[in-house]
């Protein structure tokens, strides 16, 4: 329990922690107020058994209950508000923290997978957590605090009975620990079962076309059925082994009650305690197990908290880089790699690369997939920080640039186009806030986006909303129009985008031509046709530059490039 609270508190900032601590203090006060039942009962019975009972007695015992009740209400109000504010506040702050963190995370980290995960954590996970965060302190502490206070109150009436209650509560808590250990024993196999099901379901859902066409469902989906059955077995076994222990635990609370009753009877018979005290402690024994029963185990709660906290921390644990360098206006767009090495996940991707790209030239990176050509282009714009060597733009290490002023120099035309759920105009103006209508129109024209004017809402059409679904090719060209508006000095092109049908290809090519005019152009080339005109071609293999030069020079050498071109010819001339 304490561990769960600690885990939760580690998640909150100082201010929130203070709110929750205060809420706990208020809960203790509430517990004390709640225990006022006992003296109220005692006072009433005492007067009855001693024959001094009158209407006044009733008023007095009512007062003994009502005043604490009033205090308790005030405490509950304050504590509820504190927890509500603290709970929603801490998830809100965690969300902001994640957003802030993302600003410093290397660009290279982002891909469809990681972005999907981060989104899900920032939305779903945090929502789930805020729901719990507002209740967790109350849920976890109230039962224990109330129990402890009632036990202490019983000591007031008779220390022997108090002692019995105390011993009982300790045994009860000991069983809690046993249960937790039992739970832990099953945790790893449960996790294994969960993972098995998860990976099978993922496979099934993502590969549904294959599942259908290879008949991998119904009685043929043995792998998934096994995982499913394994999950059922593991969970049933785990739960069934817990149930007797849990039952013994509740049984213990009943035993405490019985033991207290026995002791109370004996003490009463022996004349040690009067009847009023005896009745009160017997009633007290019932109060104890009412509050013990409300303690619960919270195993699901702590699982959820643990998972939420873990997920958030995972994102916050992504290494950041320093992005606040100088604002530097570049005079040339010369790029230089000096002995650059870069590894990701312990795998060396770029291995001691040195190269120079002259400003206003047009260069291409060619190589098999996985050779590192894309990574080299990413390193220029500091998507990652290199581990060895340095990348220089205009003679200045890219690490020394303010990230925004570095980015000003680059435009990317990549496969995954992201346009905001906003009007076309606003999407374009993202590149240049104070762009005039003329400039926007011009960019659209250059990027072959005439279709925009045929839309009912024109450039005020909101992208992504029902009805205005634009085709992939159209979105691609809009992103190029946006890039044209940005008018940066260097354009990095991933040619994979050019793999579209002939009709679209022509328009896309025209758009790209407009974008790259008079710019430094760096392309990741998949097609060899465009490569021919390049000022320089770098052939990359296994993270190294293995060849470089113009097309004609490279064709004269035996090597990857020549083999590539010949393969390509083969592929194109292939006929069924």
């Amino acid at each position: 329990m304490i561990k769960m609270l600690r885990m939760f508190f580690s998640f909150c900032n100082k201010k929130r922690k203070r709110q929750f601590y205060l809420a706990i203090v208020l809960t203790i006060i509430m517990g004390i107020c709640e225990a006022s039942k006992l003296p109220a009962i005692w006072w009433l019975f005492k007067n009855i058994f001693e024959g001094t009972f009158s209407i006044n007695t009733i008023w007095q015992s009512l007062l003994i209950m009502i005043i604490p009740l009033a205090i308790s209400c005030i405490c509950r109000y304050a504590s509820t508000m504190l927890q509500c504010d603290g709970g929603y506040g801490s998830t809100c702050e965690k969300r902001i923290e994640i957003a802030e963190h993302l600003r410093y995370v290397p660009m290279g980290y982002f891909n469809a997978n990681s972005l999907g995960y981060i989104t899900s954590v920032t939305t779903n996970t945090m929502e789930q957590l805020s729901d719990i965060a507002t209740r967790v302190v109350m849920l976890v502490t109230t039962g224990l605090i109330n129990t402890v206070i009632v036990v202490l109150a019983l000591f007031f009436f008779d220390w022997r009975i108090g002692l019995v209650a105390l011993v009982g509560v300790i045994i009860y808590l000991a069983f809690n620990t046993i249960m937790k250990h039992l739970g832990k024993k099953f945790a790893p196999i449960k996790e294994k079962a969960d993972l098995g099901i998860l990976s099978n379901i993922l496979d099934y859902v993502l590969g549904i076309s294959e599942v259908k066409s290879y008949n991998l469902y119904g009685k043929y989906s043995k792998r998934m059925d096994d995982a499913n059955e394994y999950g059922r077995k593991v969970y049933s076994k785990a739960e069934l082994s817990m149930i007797p222990v849990a039952t013994i635990q509740t049984y213990i609370t009943r035993l405490i009650g019985a033991a207290m009753t026995i002791v109370a009877i004996i003490l009463c018979i022996q004349g040690v305690n009067d009847l009023a005290t005896t009745m009160t402690v017997i009633i007290g024994s019932y109060i104890i197990y009412a509050s013990l029963d409300s303690m619960g185990t919270f195993s699901t709660l702590s699982k959820i908290i643990e998972r939420c906290v873990q997920r958030a921390n995972e994102i916050l644990g992504i290494k950041t880089m320093k992005i606040t360098g100088e604002n530097h206006e570049t005079k040339t767009t010369d790029i230089e790699f000096k002995n650059v090495s870069f590894s990701y996940d312990k795998k060396k991707i770029i291995d001691d690369v040195s190269l120079k790209i002259k400003g206003n030239s047009k260069v291409a990176f060619v190589g098999p997939s996985g050779s590192g050509k894309t990574t080299i282009c990413h390193l220029m714009a500091r998507f990652w920080d290199v581990q060895e060597g340095g990348v220089f733009l205009d003679g200045k290490n890219v690490k020394d640039y303010n990230i925004d002023s570095l980015m000003d120099n680059f435009t990317f035309v990549f496969q995954n186009v992201y346009l905001f759920n906003d009007t076309i105009a606003n999407n374009l103006k993202m590149a240049k806030e104070n762009a005039t209508q003329e400039e926007v129109d011009n960019a659209l024209k250059l990027a072959c986006c005439d279709f925009v004017y045929d839309l009912p809402q024109g450039i005020n059409t909101v992208i992504g909303e029902g009805g205005s679904t634009l085709s992939g090719g159209e979105l691609q060209r809009l992103s190029i129009a946006r890039a044209i508006l940005k008018d940066s000095k260097i354009v990095i092109l991933d040619e994979a985008t050019a793999n579209v049908d002939p009709e679209n290809e022509e328009k896309l090519m025209n758009a790209i031509d407009a974008l790259t005019k008079n710019k430094t152009v760096i392309m990741i080339a998949h097609r060899l046709k465009t490569v021919r005109d390049c000022d320089n071609i770098f052939v990359i293999d296994e993270g190294k530059v293995v060849q470089s030069g113009k097309h004609d020079e490279l064709m004269k050498q035996e090597g990857i490039y020549k083999r590539f071109v010949l393969d390509r010819k083969d592929a194109v001339s292939w006929k069924i």
């Binding site: 009962i41 019975f45 009855i48 009158s54 009733i58 209950m65 308790s72 209400c73 109000y77 509820t80 508000m81 509500c84 929603y88 809100c92 957003a99 993302l102 660009m107 981060i118 989104t119 939305t123 929502e127 805020s130 379901i201 099934y204 590969g207 549904i208 076309s209 294959e210 259908k212 290879y214 008949n215 991998l216 469902y217 999950g231 059922r232 969970y235 149930i243 039952t247 009943r254 019985a258 009877i265 018979i269 009412a290 980015m407 435009t411 905001f420 085709s471 940005k486 994979a496 679209n504 998949h526 046709k529 021919r532 393969d567 390509r568 592929a571 194109v572 292939w574 006929k575 069924i576």
Partner: protein, 581 residues
Amino acid sequence: MKRRGLLSILFDYASDKKRYYIVSIIAAIISVASGIIPFYFVADIITKLIDHKDVFTDYLMDIIMILVFFLIKGLFHVISTSLSHIAAFQIIKTTRKRATDSLALASLGDVKDENSGSLKNTLCERIDSTETTLAHIIPEVTSSVLCFLGTFVYLMILDWRMGLFSLIPVLIGLISYGTMTIGYGRYYKTCIDKTKILNDTAVEYINGIEVIKAFGKSESSYEKFERAAKEGASCFVEWMRNSCVSFTIAMSVAPYTLLAILPLGGILYYNGLIPINTFVICVLMSIGLIAPLINAMGHADDISKAQVIFKEIDRIVRIKQLDRPKVSKALPKDSSISIKDVSFGYKNEEVLHDINLDIKAGSQVAFVGPSGAGKSTIAKLIASLWDPNKGDIYIGGVNIKDLTLEDYNREVSYVSQNNYLFNVSIMENIRMGNLNASDEEVIDICKKCGVHDFIMNLEQGYDTVVGDSGSHLSGGERQRISIARAMMKNSKIVILDEATAYTDPENESIIQKSLAELVKGKTLIVIAHRLSTIINSDDIVLVNNGVIEAHGKHQELLDKSELYRNMWNAHIQAKDGDIND
């Protein structure tokens, strides 16, 4: 869809474990009764104490009975919860199976309309999260409610006035709780709206982070997100602030039965209307009266959550299934394909209009046309991923609607540009083409497909696990493995839907060489952008705007179709291979 309660859905999915639930409920009832009976003996003890019985043995019988009944209570509690747990896990398992089977038998289009992330979520985590409800709801809610009722009735029997008094605080609590609903609609709406704005902003901020950074807009976008996050939190706090007084009173007063029992019982006693021992036992019983009720109410939230989840699963299970018989009415005679008057559309938009086409067994046919013309859709209809809205498709003279999916799938292989590889070893992935294949047969097919060498070059060889994580297979390599898998299946009809579009040149030439070998003698349908690859086809089908505009051999089409001629010219110009002109 018909509205169904959780219980009826549960019973539906519990199938053969229904009995478990029934026994579980009976055990719960016995358990609750055994929990209430001890009050009788406690009352006896109290009476004896007041009567000053001074020998401990007078009390011994009562104490033993109390313990015995608690023991019985515990025993039946074990039975009840054990059975409900067994049933719960069975339900989870069956439900998952039914939902996944439903997906496989539905038309692919409907499945692809589902968000794969949320499907995964529903089928894994969300189903699992119902476990607590499924396993605890039945015994606990039943026993909580029964416990309240039982205790209350007993209280009424002891003294009906005391019984009624015990309800006063609950009523005050309920009234107070009721005032919370004032303004509920307005606050609820604000909170939902703000949460939606927050989520939308988060999605946009995170998914657009690359663009935001690339255009140097991180400051302003971040501020927008921050604002949304703060508003998303403050609206809930505001709502709570508004209803907190009612909430506090409800939560503090409702369980406080003593507040009424003690003074009002005192008045009854004062007026000689109730004996002292009854008074004491009423006080005692009232203490635990309300807690179970609150406990049951606490489950209400879980129940409604589980209900939402099961409705969602029910929806998945009820996704329209492809209309196929249990047993095939006839089996295809050969591998010819015939499309008759087929029209098809997604949602409300028809994309194919009255298609008629005959493909001879063993012939090689290419579908060409501008993007969006419908060529890929025709292929998918032949692959039975969807059913046509109108018209029929025959293979080997049999309507595919008269074949079971299983029989049908044996006849046809469909390879697209984005094939999925399962998160198991390469060996197992390829074996999926034919579950009975031995390791040697898998390796043999890999050799024929030209993938054996590259697989052997991997550190783990055929045991390399191909998940999205862990291995570093390139797109081209994955494509080659999936083609080997399709070849393993050795079906008579093969459909290649731009199967090599996204591969790099090295991989592409290897794939193409091996394919030519493997598809000999089969009916082959190819969809390709690069026209030069299909000019030798037996039949080239030109699809445009959802109709077959022309078909014939390459030269025929060049002569008779202007569209084809234009496409050919565009292709010749863009063609990659003209480096050495």
